[in-house]
């Protein structure tokens, strides 16, 4: 018997087939967010997606590490945002804003600690 891997894209395909609401995946949403943030924030230098991304758990937030020139240096300090489906934001969001100097210190470690979890610095999201 073939085992079906229910990836987020597979679930969306099935939903679409049966007329359900089709949400963007977290990665797609993160890329859209990154693009929007680059458009409005002139001092934003880099955005990284923090991993792992748990696509199966809608309550698990998208976590973005944003490197902003001239930001207040306060270390790793996430700011949370609620989901806003009316504006195409189906997931909670957490933004960790750090300066380029702070980024240099976390880059070598490759991960940041939030609460009881270590999050790995993952894919860099670029302006489209």
């Amino acid at each position: 018997m073939t085992k079906i891997e229910w990836t987020s894209s597979a679930i969306r395909d099935v939903k679409a087939e049966f007329g359900g609401v089709v949400n963007k995946s977290k990665l797609e949403t993160a890329k859209s967010l990154a693009n929007a943030h680059f458009q409005v924030e002139p001092n934003l230098k880099r955005i990284y997606l923090m991993q792992p991304i748990n696509d199966q758990d809608p309550n698990d937030p998208i976590k973005l590490l944003e490197v902003v020139e001239g930001t207040i240096e306060r270390g790793i300090e996430p700011v949370s945002f609620a989901a806003d489906p009316a504006r195409g934001m189906d997931y909670r969001l957490m933004i960790i804003e750090i300066s380029p100097a702070e980024y240099e210190s976390v880059r070598t470690v490759g991960k940041v600690r939030l609460g009881n979890h270590d999050w790995t610095i993952g894919e860099e999201l670029l302006a489209r």
Partner: protein, 173 residues
Amino acid sequence: MPATDEEWARSYAIQALSDLDAREKLADANAKKCHRLHFLQMAAEKTCKAHLTWENGHDTVRKSHAYVARVFPIIARVFYPRINDNNQINQWELSAITRFAREIELLAPACDDGDLRRDNSEYPWEDARGDICTPCEYNFPNIDDGSRTIIRMIRLIRTAAESYSRPQLTTNH
């Protein structure tokens, strides 16, 4: 012995940090926008009162809610250089914060801009057409609480409130 200005400032600041913590928990829990904004407004207001108490004394701080629009931009100008190698805050950042602070102040029911803005984060109000608006069903179109300005504002509130919560370390006096 009556409480000192320093003790009052510290208390306002500690409460502001707790309000901000509540805002984070509400955002994490996908709570309604009115609740998220309410705690942001309270955190901003108490940080402003901590600043005014520290600078001018507790006697000058009244029970008014109308402090954020006027005082928060001052806090931004004061604290930004302190923690950014004496660099001044960019004018566009300050303008964005000033606009945002004004809208945050108007969230308090007592601040209605001369009865022009009845929308607030706590109590129902009647709009110009005579319809009743309920905060938890209202989307507060003048405030984008997913905007990047809110990140700046939250980080400034934390920075200032933490500073006033341990005022003996900020020896400007």
